[in-house]
């Protein structure tokens, strides 16, 4: 069904160990700095200081209102297309072995990808003018 791909001949979990080290280092750095600045800076809090800044006028209502649906749509489209992109990766790594047959299959896939893409374009999902 599937041939042994590069995915299987993975490096050992140990090769990820340095990444853990780096994660620790980054965490330590960020944490320390945050901690340090918390104590270093002066603290003279007044209620006016803690008001959110809206170009100098008084804040009106809660900022957390629904934003334009376009942004949401973009996010959803990203999720969908990104996953399709993910499919290209294993293909790209193996595509020499798969040869022309694989290429044709990929063409079909791209055709569907483009089909979806043109559909959303036509539907106006990415029209930001209005």
């Amino acid at each position: 069904m599937f041939t042994d791909t590069v995915l299987l001949s993975a490096t050992t979990p140990f090769s990820y160990f340095p990444i853990v080290l780096q994660l620790c280092a980054a965490l330590g750095f960020v944490g320390l700095t945050m901690f340090a600045t918390h104590f270093l800076g002066p603290k003279r809090k007044t209620s006016d200081k803690l008001v959110t800044f809206e170009s100098g006028i008084e804040q009106k209502g809660n900022a957390r209102q629904p934003v334009a649906i376009k942004y949401f749509l973009t996010a959803i489209l990203f999720v969908l297309f990104d996953v399709e992109v993910i499919f290209f990766y294993p293909y790209a790594v193996n595509f020499r072995e798969l040869g022309w047959d694989g290429f044709l299959a990929m063409l079909l896939f791209v055709a569907f990808f483009l089909g979806g893409f043109f559909y959303i374009l036509k539907k106006g999902a990415l029209k930001w003018e209005d």
Binding site: M1, F112, G115, Y119, K122, K123
Partner: protein, 458 residues
Amino acid sequence: MNALISTALAGVVMMFAGLFIRNKQHIKFVAIAALLIVSVANLAELSTIEGGSRTVLGMVTVSHFSILFNAIAFGATLIYFLLSGSAFEKVGEHVADYFALVFFILSGITLASSFSNLLMLFLAIEIISIPQYILAGSNKRTPKSSEASLKYFLMGSFSTGILLMGITLIYGAAGTFNIEELGLGNGDINPLALCGIILLAFALSFKVSAAPFHFWTPDVYDGSPTVFTSFMATVVKAGSFIAFIRIFHGAFTGTNISAHWQLLLSLVTAATLLIGNFTAVFQQSVKRMLAYSSIAQAGFMLFAVISMNKYATQGIILYAAAYSVATIGVFAVTMKLKDYTFDGFNGLARTQPVLAVTTAIFVCSLAGIPLTAGFFAKYFVLTAAVQQGNLLWLVVLAVLCAAISAYYYFRVIIAMYFKQGEPATKEEITGGFKVMLVITAAIVILLGVFPGLLLNLI
């Protein structure tokens, strides 16, 4: 394969049809034409298959059986389009998209009827499910619709998670996803595999709304736009069942393993029959009654799953056809009425005799009265269960439930024929609609007199 590819393409075509065709009614005709092409493509493959089946890349096995099932699904959908296609326009703006989603569901169903790999089972179930979430919420005017959609989505994706866990555990036990190579029934039972099978049974019970996993069904069916409920409760349900049967018959049979899940599923079947029937009795709305009755009918279709013999496969084919066609018919009539309660049907026989007669035939078929397709459908699944041997208690329970089901089905007839009233229709009943109804009823009766017409093809 033809069916799979052509339905997917048809879905894409419908998506684009919505962009380029302004007239909504033309979209319906495009959909019908596309469906006809799909059906022809599906049947054309029949002659190319030699020796019963052909496997494509170890993923999909196309056989006469799967092609026949596809043909039934397409046929039922065709009837559905013809009877209820115009109701699409009333749901919302995106008519072509609804048709496209229906085609995608169909492609999921064709995959469900022909998968030979657990991966494809998963994909089939999901391709069937996801468009349904959208269809359920497609009526943006009522909060009921979107809430039905949310409920369906949450429950559906939950059951998907369970399904996947089952598949994973089975993979852990067997080391392959290929159904023919699983080999779970031979030798000792692997506890991982058993857990996987049970999870799979639960998840699929969820998808076919078998008790005790049915609780989402009435709300979702009631909240969704009626025209889509009609599709979801019929063709889609049959498609889910075919997946259920294929996986359980194809992979989990074997001397050791089947006894374990069979008992479990018999209990599920019993619960489904009892809950579906008894709850349907108390419904006041025909739409809700049909929702519960679809649960009850699922109980009968579960017989085909647990009995594992040739009657079961024949039975599910007949059941799918009989149940889908009849329910689509009843829904089509219901949609023409203003009032979905039983009282809304009062006196229909006087004002709309054609509608009343055909509805009566559909309802008789659902109740399993002889000379309608429903009788032979029930007959086959009962035969399958009787032959299975140790399920007689369930069979007796089932026939008693069938007698109960006559109660609520016949309430429709009683309302139409024996009660006084002036049923208000939403719109003018066109002659074309009546002709379609009569043809559909004729199909129901034809299959009831000569079930061989379908069985010969298997």
